[in-house]
Symmetry: C2
């Protein structure tokens, strides 16, 4: 029997015991749903993952798409996988009924999606970008654009991409040079080169809808002069039929370390007369629209990273339970049988580390999705605004912490398997490669850290920051009621006090010291905040587990809850104390890196 992709019981715990997804069914948007429809969605996803996607996971990794100068070729299984996802409604499960969705809560969609990602993430790579693209156009495009582009994307006839990065600009969007000139008919002519465009060309769909950031001639310099355009691979006639080929040329495919079945492309737009593009919303507001998509994309990246972490944990756990090797140190008889490696304390340490990282990260991402639901469907404007504020604040942490600690979990998954972990008979080396992209795309960890410390903390009079601390305080107060948890609540409270002191100190330092020096430890600050948030989520989980244990559950559940408590203890004893030193570095404005001169390297 293959190793489980995800831990079903943990998803159930996150949805129904920790984040009360059932309560969402009382809202109009989700009125048709109940726990049965949620479970059915998860089961569908699990079935598609196991039956359709998993069988070609390794093949897709081994047989990269190729480009013959005309077309992109890939193994046919990918199309089968994409179609299975679309047909089962899992491509846009949160979309409204009108646009072909199932109106499911984001938290349920996220849980369902985790099965698909754990089964390789290949097909979801294509569908998720399409969905994000469709969501953006639905939010900011015209009715005509929604009709023309969004509906075919929801149906799976068209695919979508986001084309931001340029060879000369990378993360520095202010310097992008792709240009757009308005034509007499109101459309634009777009010219420029884009790179690292995921799904930028393929034959999976009839058409591909590129969302392209470009600068209208005469626009202001910097990020304030960026507009957003729909630039399709094929033009579309008014009756919805495909028209002429647009000037979007595939210059080549990149060969990535992981996620190898998803094409990463270099695209040239408008090499002759300019590619025909359609402005989304207003000129010069492109970046804010794109950020609408980016915030969703950032939760998606965090979730993928967490999920790949869980998948590696589940696989290495399964392996460790079955693989006999060696004896315990306390066993002196060489005639005794070898034990399964899970008996070795160091293997348990590596499994528990994976559990603490990956389940902690997953809880954070599911919490993020729950906030998306509240942001969109909570009863009052005040509640919706509160959810938005908190989510906006947490986004850099939701993006980064799983992206940094998911790969660390995968590191241990390999190590548990030993030599077997290094070869492609087992998927853990693929997880390790696939997950390495997550600290890079949709804003690197460095960029997230500047977003957190440089923008989110102080934004709107510390509104998000304060909201986050308040939420954590509620959990601390609750945990203090439990004899078993009071000590951990105290420890978290102490660490938060350190975090607050650090925040105040570093912000004060910006008034008297060079900002480049003060912010040179921004990643340590992100690490610190991230660890506090994950500790908080572990304490939240422990409260539920502690209460459930008091009710004397059946044996399987008792084991599950004890595991949760043990992982919480691991995080508090082994991980959280690391933050003390990180806080010192930030608060003392350590300038060791800043002072390092270019010539000294």
């Amino acid at each position: 029997m293959p190793a489980p992709l995800m831990n079903d019981r943990d998803l159930e715990f996150l949805l129904y015991e920790l984040f009360d997804a059932e309560a969402l069914t009382e809202r109009t948007q989700f009125a048709d749903h109940n726990r049965e429809t949620f479970d059915a969605t998860l089961n569908t996803a699990k079935t598609v993952a196991e039956k359709v996607l998993l069988p070609f996971r390794m093949k897709a990794d081994n047989q990269e798409p190729t480009f013959d100068g005309e077309k992109v070729h890939m193994i046919p299984d990918i199309k089968t996988g994409v179609e299975a996802i679309i047909q089962s409604g899992l491509a846009s499960p949160t979309a409204s009924y009108e646009t072909g969705g199932m109106q499911l809560p984001a938290i349920v969609a996220n849980a369902a999606s985790s099965y698909l990602v754990a089964a390789g993430g290949v097909a979801t790579g294509y569908t998720a970008l399409t969905t994000a693209n469709a969501n953006l156009v639905e939010a900011h495009g015209s009715a005509e654009q929604i009709e023309k582009w969004v509906l075919p994307m929801r149906e799976g006839r068209f695919a979508g991409t986001m084309a931001m990065t340029e060879p000369g600009a990378g993360s520095g969007l202010a310097d992008l040079t792709t240009s757009a000139t308005k034509d007499e008919d109101g459309s634009y002519r777009v010219s420029g080169n884009k790179i690292y465009i995921s799904g930028g060309d393929h034959e999976l769909t009839e058409n591909i809808v590129h969302l392209v950031l470009a600068r209208v001639k005469g626009a202001p310099k910097g990020v304030k002069g960026i507009s957003l355009f729909i630039v399709p691979k094929f033009l579309v006639n008014d009756d919805g039929s495909l028209g002429a080929r647009n000037e979007v040329a595939l210059a080549g495919l990149f060969h990535k370390m992981g996620g190898r079945a998803q094409t990463s492309t270099a695209l040239n737009f408008g090499e002759q007369d300019g590619a025909i593009g359609y402005l989304v919303g207003e000129e010069n507001k492109g970046l804010s629209y794109m950020f609408h998509m980016m915030n969703e994309a950032r939760i998606m990246v965090g979730s993928s990273a967490a999920t790949i972490g869980v998948a590696g944990y589940q696989y290495s756990l399964d392996y460790a339970k079955d693989r006999p090797q060696g004896r315990l140190l306390s066993e002196k008889d060489p005639h005794s049988s070898p034990v399964n490696i899970i008996e070795h304390p160091d293997i348990r340490r590596m499994l528990l580390t994976q559990k603490a990282y990956s389940e902690g990260a997953l809880a954070l991402c599911m919490y993020g999705s729950r906030l998306v639901d509240d942001e969109k469907t909570a009863a009052t404007e005040e509640e919706r605004q509160a959810a938005h504020t908190l989510l906006d604040f947490l986004t850099p942490i939701i993006k980064s912490w799983p992206s940094e600690y998911g790969p660390k979990a995968n590191y241990y998954a390999i190590q548990v398997l030993g030599g077997a972990g290094y070869i492609n008979e087992h998927p853990v080396e693929m997880f390790y490669r696939d997950n390495r992209l997550n600290p890079i795309h949709e804003g690197t960890t460095g960029i997230q850290s500047l977003d957190l410390l440089g923008r989110k903390v102080t934004m709107n009079g510390f509104a998000g920051y304060t909201a986050c601390l308040n939420e954590m305080q509620k959990t601390i107060d609750e945990a203090k009621q439990s004899q078993a948890l009071a000590g951990y609540a105290e420890q978290l409270a102490d660490t938060i006090a350190t975090l607050k002191h650090t925040t105040e100190t570093v912000l004060t330092a910006t008034q008297s010291q060079n900002i480049d020096a003060v912010f040179s430890n921004s990643v340590k600050y992100l690490d610190l905040f991230g660890h506090v948030v994950i500790a908080w989520l572990w304490l939240k989980q422990a409260i539920v587990a502690d209460a459930a244990l008091a009710a004397q559950p059946h044996e399987a559940d008792e084991h599950f809850y004890r595991g949760k408590l043990q992982a919480m203890q691991y995080f508090f004893r082994i991980e959280l104390p690391e933050t003390k030193h990180w806080a010192d570095i930030v608060a003392n404005v350590d300038t060791t890196s800043y002072d390092m001169q270019v010539g000294w390297f």
Copy 2:
């Protein structure tokens, strides 16, 4: 111009300023050598690396060897590379003149080898194993065996492997089942299956000499019943010509995440009548002979890991100096030009981290090689024994610390390049994959930690442990003489005091508590000791740099020494304080992992 493979200046510093390799020329063994011959060796290695190996580094990674059921096929460049290494004398540079070597010191050979490894490590993978095999047979085999097997290996006509791991036994050598039966002519018939045998089959050489661990019928159980055999692919006649094909069959090739050009094989020995094998030394002493090779192999693994760390650092440094992107936070003018990314404090942090890790690791490995030289050629038996004791103690750290922190350095090399780091146009993603093997092979990090805490610390009345602490104390005393370094000397002394306390506490705990529980944090202990040792080596480097700066060197040297001081400060300020918490975990016998029950996962 391509990025430098290694930092020439740093190798010069390590050889001549830090570890006084020139002093070795006073010893009989190295009497023909001087700094000029050492430099010539390094230059030869650099030339072979740049001209022969580097041009096919990416190709070798992309085009894995294949097995058609009969023979192994690989790109011809690998044979060219192997031959260039052998012909330039770089395969066995430390071997005696009689066996075709150059009688170079190990430290010089290690420095020279680093260029070859940085250029891809493909060809050296084959030659280094052959050399290790030849060294073992030279040390423990008969004169006839040396004549028959070692000389052709030194000449490059034969290749060598080590065949230890079995499908059912992995790291648990006590359970290996390959059997050997003595024949009437004194040879043995060997039967069994071995896996993960690097270079186990190929067409690079006329013959392949497998060193196989097997159990003679009737031998004691466990590790005390293991013998070592030479089992060649082709038998060899008394005149040295090749005889019949031996019963060594290639069952298949493994597909690894990295080091992809080096075949990793499953070999079946003696499927019909038994493969013909020749006992090395005495029966049942095989493991101790193999450990002779393993200790060399462990220094080699550490050195490779450090070198790949340096190579990634050099590459990302080169990239960061040339790639313009974004602006400093302090720059408010969007019309200003983008800066090279090395100007961004977070990029500098990631480069300085790589420098601290990889140059620290390299210094440790070069120190290990210097101890090999002392162990073999120091003037008195007492000095040789002292070097042996210290080296034996340090071996698990030399193996593990670079293997754990080299990949971490490569993680940052990718991150410095961003999206470009994730694609194979740049070698940093390959370094990341290649380096991931090092914490696994030749004894995992977990096994090294048990070797350190369970054996090496207490061995011979704490002889190695005490010798190590004494060496560190000498450096502390010296550093205290410098105003600039006294504070760091103090910090190291404090950390060593913590280390001593931790050691005593944990060893005392073994008397009253379950040993499996007490040793469950052995990896944290290894981390702690490793960080102390690396901090010590950084302080040693700082002493040299500090003195050199006082002599007002020319500008390039001044920059180099300032860089060394800054990296030392980085390690002491950012890294070393982490050990406090690790020490607490070990000394308090934290049982969080140990207590985690199998059913709770």
